[in-house]
């Protein structure tokens, strides 16, 4: 080897490089591109999935992911542009069908393309932060088809027109509507909203504005509500069949606003068919419809409630102030109960037992019942009537129901103490005359009053029952210890605790000797067993059964009051007695005696006495005889007393005064209680607290409260603050 021949070697760096066919990516992409064409042309049956998947895999593996992805975008765009053209070319009714068909085709193609490019989707797409294939396919469809200028407005108009014709009664293909709206949803909720929903609600608002105007001109309220309800149901039905569920709220709001909210007042006040008419005619169905429809809009129920309240107040006011009604207390209360029943039913059924309506009803009743100051008396009279006779033959449950209803009314009363006064009087009469029908009913009512107003309210009433029971035992004891009394007259004494009973201190009349001797025996027996007590006789409240034989031998048993008995017994020893003689012998107070004689002599069919002269009124010169001609079909004759059932004007005044008198200590007690805990309080707050404390019994009159405060200041319970005259202090 010669030096000349020495070759200069250059050592090249080893290149870590795999030489690849430079046409490889183009070739591979061509295969895939052709496959995509075939898929869009419904010609995929000849394709080998494995081969295509492997090719796509290899492209990604050899870093041609970008090439693959951009090729996909370009190819798909071309196809979608074609598709858009063919949809644009569709005529008339076939437009939606063509759109739907192409959409289905695209979806299927998209699925297959994604299958082929799955490896790219899994590895290249996330690392290069591209849109995944499926989403890409939807985006391209949206951009190229839905947003194409030829399709966009046409699609919207077609959808809206179809809905309009369905609203006007035509039948449309709901299936295709569902597919199209679902497509819009698949493209993204915002696409659905912007391309369809927003316009749909606007168009609907216009439609219903016009329609509601037309309806309100020509329909009555009930019909209008029926139509509105039907429209609402139709819209809900539409949503459930072919719109997105989210649309329901929005379209409902449109219909509610146009059909109801905008016409609310006009509907309620509609002449001859508005709310008041519905209430008067008990139109439950219409009322129910109005309630459910109006509940959907703001302030809807408020409006109904306002109108209902003012109607109840107005008609209630008429009822309680109508002088005709005041004649019969039982009827008066019955009317109130009927009215209450009517509205209870309306609130229970059509108004869905709505609490706010119940409250409105209660406040309305409270308002008008108290407009009539005699309501407490009447309610007590109603109870009296029911407990005397009204409940005969009625089963226990019904009694309870009636009593519960009365308690409802009682709850509305502001002057519960007035009711108590009357109730006590009426109860006393019932108990003493043995007229009460059912002891259970009486007691049940007491329990109700107790739960309503507390122990204090009923303690005296309960005392009355206890007295009755004790008296029974006492009488048994009395007769057991006096076996010798078998033959004479039978005496039944009811020992009444002073204070529990509404007794007036009355002058005891002279009893007949037989009775008075018996009374003495009882007195000594009673005081013998109960030391330290005092007995006084309430002769004005008793009654007696007398066996009488008249001139022609007719025998009768007379049921009379104690006074009447005293009078009649005088005739055992005399045929004729003058008024004066009777008065002297019996010492019955004049007005009572007159009433007593009236009932004995002047009532037809009950006139066991005869009066001379035969005038209507009893005067001092009258003379009385036994009426020998007395006859009656009945063996037992009940001689009633002429007593006014309702209170007369002066009696009313007296009761009123007694009530006022009774309130004074209660008000004072309340003031002292409050001041004791607060130590000091200003005038207005004190009045407010007193009123609040007492409202379960009566509505305190501020002037009266003020008087009581003055009186307490005088008696050194309270003092005024030196600096602030409005401020009171409690003096311990």
């Amino acid at each position: 080897m010669s030096n000349q021949k020495k070759k200069h070697f250059q050592i090249e760096a080893f290149k870590h490089k795999v030489v690849m066919d430079p046409k490889y990516p183009d070739k591979t992409w061509k295969i895939l591109e052709d496959a995509i064409h075939e898929i869009y042309n419904h010609n995929a049956s000849g394709l080998s999935f494995e081969e295509l998947y492997r090719n796509a895999y290899n492209m990604v593996l050899h870093k041609f992911g970008e090439r693959l992805y951009s090729g996909l975008v370009a190819t798909m765009t071309v196809h979608l542009k074609d598709i858009a053209q063919s949809i644009e070319a569709a005529q008339g009714g076939s437009f939606l069908e063509e759109l739907n068909r192409k959409w289905n085709d695209h979806n299927k193609a998209l699925q297959m393309i994604r299958d082929i490019l799955m490896y790219m989707d899994r590895t290249y797409v996330p690392s290069a932060r591209k849109t995944p294939v499926h989403e890409l396919g939807l985006n391209l469809w949206r951009e190229n088809v839905i947003y194409s200028s030829q399709i966009r407005t046409r699609l919207l108009n077609t959808l809206l027109e179809l809905i309009h014709s369905e609203r006007t009664g035509e039948v449309i293909d709901r299936g295709i509507m569902r597919n199209i709206t679902k497509m819009l949803m698949d493209l993204g909720p915002s696409v659905y909203e912007h391309e369809f929903e927003k316009h749909f609600t606007n168009v609907s608002a216009e439609f219903y504005q016009v329609e509601s105007q037309r309806f309100i001109e020509c329909c009555d309220c009930g019909d209008y509500l029926k139509k509105a309800e039907r429209r609402l149901n139709e819209e809900m039905d539409r949503v459930s069949h072919y719109l997105d569920p989210e649309t329901e709220k929005k379209i409902n709001k449109v219909v509610e606003e146009q059909m109801i909210e905008n016409h609310m007042l006009r509907l309620i006040h509609m002449e001859n068919s508005g709310l008041v008419n519905m209430l008067c005619d008990d139109k439950y169905e219409d009322l129910g419809r109005m309630y459910t429809l109006f509940r959907r809009v703001t302030d809807g129920l408020l409006k109904i409630r306002e109108v209902m309240t003012s109607h109840i107040r107005e008609s209630g006011k008429q009822l309680v102030t109508d002088p005709e009604r005041l004649k019969d207390p039982v009827e008066f209360v019955q009317r109130l109960l009927d009215e209450k029943d009517k509205y209870d039913k309306i609130i229970n059924l059509p108004f869905n037992n709505d609490k706010s309506f119940q409250n409105a009803l209660n406040s309305s009743f409270e308002y008008f019942i108290n407009l009539n100051p005699r309501s407490p008396e009447f309610i007590s009279l109603f109870v009296d009537d029911k407990l005397r006779k009204g409940l005969k033959g009625v089963n226990e449950d019904d009694v309870e129901v009636t009593l519960d209803k009365v308690m409802m009314l009682f709850r509305y009363l502001q002057e519960k103490d007035v009711f108590e006064k009357y109730y006590k009087q009426h109860l006393a009469k019932r108990l003493l005359s043995g007229k009460t029908v059912s002891d259970d009913a009486e007691r049940s009512l007491i329990v109700k009053l107790k739960t309503e107003c507390g122990y204090q309210f009923t303690s005296k009433l309960e005392g009355m029952f206890t007295d009755m029971k004790t008296s029974q035992d006492t009488m048994q004891g009395f007769y057991a210890s006096h076996p010798d009394l078998g033959d004479g007259p039978t005496l039944t004494v009811q020992v009444l605790t002073t204070g529990s009973w509404p007794t007036q201190s009355s002058i005891t009349c002279n009893l007949p000797a037989e009775i008075s001797a018996l009374c003495e025996k009882f007195r000594s027996y009673y005081l013998g067993t109960h030391t330290g007590r005092r007995l006084s006789w309430q002769t004005n409240m008793g009654f007696a059964d007398l066996k009488a034989t008249f001139g022609k031998g007719q025998k009768h048993e007379l049921n009379v009051s104690t006074y009447q008995m005293c009078v009649l017994m005088l005739f055992n020893n005399a045929d004729k007695l003058s008024y004066k003689e009777i008065e002297q012998a019996t010492e019955i107070p004049a007005p009572d005696l007159k009433r007593c004689l009236q009932s004995l002599a002047l009532v037809k069919g009950r006139n066991v006495l005869r009066k001379e002269p035969m005038s209507k009124d009893v005067v001092e010169d009258d003379a009385f005889f036994v009426n020998d001609k007395f006859s009656s079909k009945l063996y037992k004759v009940k001689i009633g007393t002429v007593v006014a059932q309702k209170e007369s004007e002066p009696e009313k005044q007296e009761t009123r005064q007694r009530v006022e008198e009774d309130r004074k200590p209660q008000i004072e007690a309340a003031i002292v209680r409050i001041m004791k805990s607060r130590k000091q309080l200003d005038h207005n707050n004190l009045i407010a607290e007193v009123t609040k404390q007492l409202q379960s019994r009566f509505l305190a009159n501020p002037t009266e409260v003020k008087k009581r405060i003055e009186s307490l200041i005088e008696r050194d319970f309270l003092e005024r603050d030196d600096n602030d005259r409005k401020l009171y202090r409690y003096l311990a």
Binding site: A44, L47, E50, Y57, D115, M118, R122, P126, S127
Partner: protein, 442 residues
């Protein structure tokens, strides 16, 4: 014969396999095998013919077995990597991953692998990813490993010292680094775990001025918030809050006077009570400060500090803390691995109740000790000390297991996630992966 033929025949790389469509359906429609059987692709083919797949038959056989049984057995002659690659081709890599190791149980862990790294210097932190991967912070770099323990591109933020790192989801990692004086660098960055690219940098602004800052401990909430302890140059110490999605700062909790929030060792978001635990420990500060912040009310709702405690009990210094919401308590640990507990329900600062469990470590400290760390997972409490990790269970936190490996020196950090436990050693650049084996066959 009236009965639909369920059988499918494959020819994979020359070897014929026969299976059923039912077995293949286990792969799911979103896999290559699932798509292959879809009727879209089978319009003309009859069931008798083989489907050809140009792949490795040995791997296919393993994968087919996985689909049949749900269990993974890799023969000696197949490398795991090869199998993973094939599984990715068929689209069943997730099946392989979930069959690879069992559901996490601290008491049944086995050492699966140790991975050696190249980074110089000590590791700072290791964090398990939600799908079994992990990332390791070394100095100014974060090395990212997927669940197959393949290393991806490392992350860095201006090559500044990394103080904490965490996964917000399998695809994204957040790192917090120190600032470089005068350069406006540092702060917090969100990176892709796949390619290591920076996606967002999170800024701190005070009175509308963007400031540079040092981010230390990080935490994340399920409603996409990032919390970080931040230390600015002037008085901008505190805890910043950012939205992961927008990258915007949404809140800042300023450090109160006499307290420490801005250079915390640990922040922990508590989903149940809507509070953030912030703990700063010795030796970063001379004292230990633990507090719970309520961002809605801008209030410190609970706090504890050892300021003023007699330091005769030097050994009782708190070195790590973790909130245990289920027990309404905070667990702390000192350098002798004694656990202490504090009640979260009483808002007043109360004392630590130390459990007098063991003082085994006392007197035999290794040459290069690491401070103990705590972790809580599935009702089990973990604490690292020197070269081992202790597992505590039950209401009284009884020591039930101890994980130890002799090689690599002390454990400077560990983390549990994706049903794996990762432990980073301080002396050698190595981390261990502990897994629960799959359940026994019978």
């Amino acid at each position: 014969m009236g009965i639909k033929n369920d059988r499918v025949k494959f020819n994979v790389g020359g070897r014929v396999f026969e299976t059923t469509a039912t077995t293949l359906a286990n792969a799911g429609r979103n896999s290559m095998l699932g798509a292959m059987l879809d009727e879209n692709w089978n319009l003309l083919q009859d069931n008798g013919s083989e489907k050809f797949i140009d792949r490795n038959p040995d791997c296919f056989s393993v994968i087919l077995d996985l689909l049949r049984t749900g269990e993974l057995y890799i023969p000696q002659n197949i490398s795991e990597k090869l199998l993973y690659r094939e599984a990715l081709f068929y689209g069943v890599l997730d099946h392989v991953r979930s069959a690879k190791w069992g559901q996490f149980d601290g008491n049944r862990l086995r050492l699966s692998q140790s991975v050696q790294g190249q980074a110089p210097g000590d590791g700072t932190a290791i964090r398990a990813g939600p799908d079994g991967g992990c990332c390791v912070a070394h100095g100014c770099m974060v090395h990212v490993y997927d669940w197959m323990l393949d290393e991806h591109n490392p992350l860095n933020l201006d090559y500044q010292r990394v103080n904490d790192v965490g996964w917000v989801d399998p695809n994204n990692i957040v790192i917090g680094v120190s600032e470089r004086l005068g350069r406006g660098d540092g702060g917090i960055g969100l990176f892709s775990s796949h390619d290591g690219e920076l996606r967002y940098k999170f800024q701190v602004s005070h009175e509308n001025h963007v400031k540079s800052y040092t981010a230390s401990a990080l935490s994340f909430s399920s409603d996409y918030k990032i919390f970080s302890s931040c230390k600015g140059r002037s008085n901008e110490y505190g805890v910043g809050v950012w939205d992961q999605v927008t990258g915007k700062q949404i809140d800042f909790f300023y450090e109160p006077l006499g307290w420490s929030l801005g250079d915390a060792d640990k922040v922990q978001w508590l989903e149940g009570s809507n509070c953030l635990l912030v703990a700063t420990m010795f030796p970063r500060k001379d004292n230990c400060y633990i507090s719970l912040l309520d961002f809605r009310e801008k209030k410190m709702v609970w706090c504890w500090s050892d300021v003023g405690a007699t330091l005769a009990v030097d050994e009782k210094r708190v070195r790590d803390a973790i909130a245990m919401e289920d027990n309404s308590s905070i667990c702390v640990v000192n350098e002798f691995e004694e656990l202490g507990f504090m009640d979260l329900r009483s808002s007043a600062a109360n004392s630590v109740r130390w459990s007098s469990r063991s003082r085994l470590m006392k007197g035999k400290m290794p040459e290069e000790p690491c401070y103990p760390k705590l972790a809580l997972h599935g009702g089990q409490l973990f604490s690292s000390m020197n070269d081992c990790i202790s597992v505590f269970c039950g209401p009284e936190w009884v020591l039930t297991s101890r994980l130890r490996r002799s090689y690599g020196g002390s454990i400077c950090d560990f983390s549990i996630g994706g049903d794996r436990l990762f432990a980073l050693h301080s002396e050698e650049n190595v981390f261990d992966i502990w897994e629960t084996p799959t359940p026994p066959i019978i």
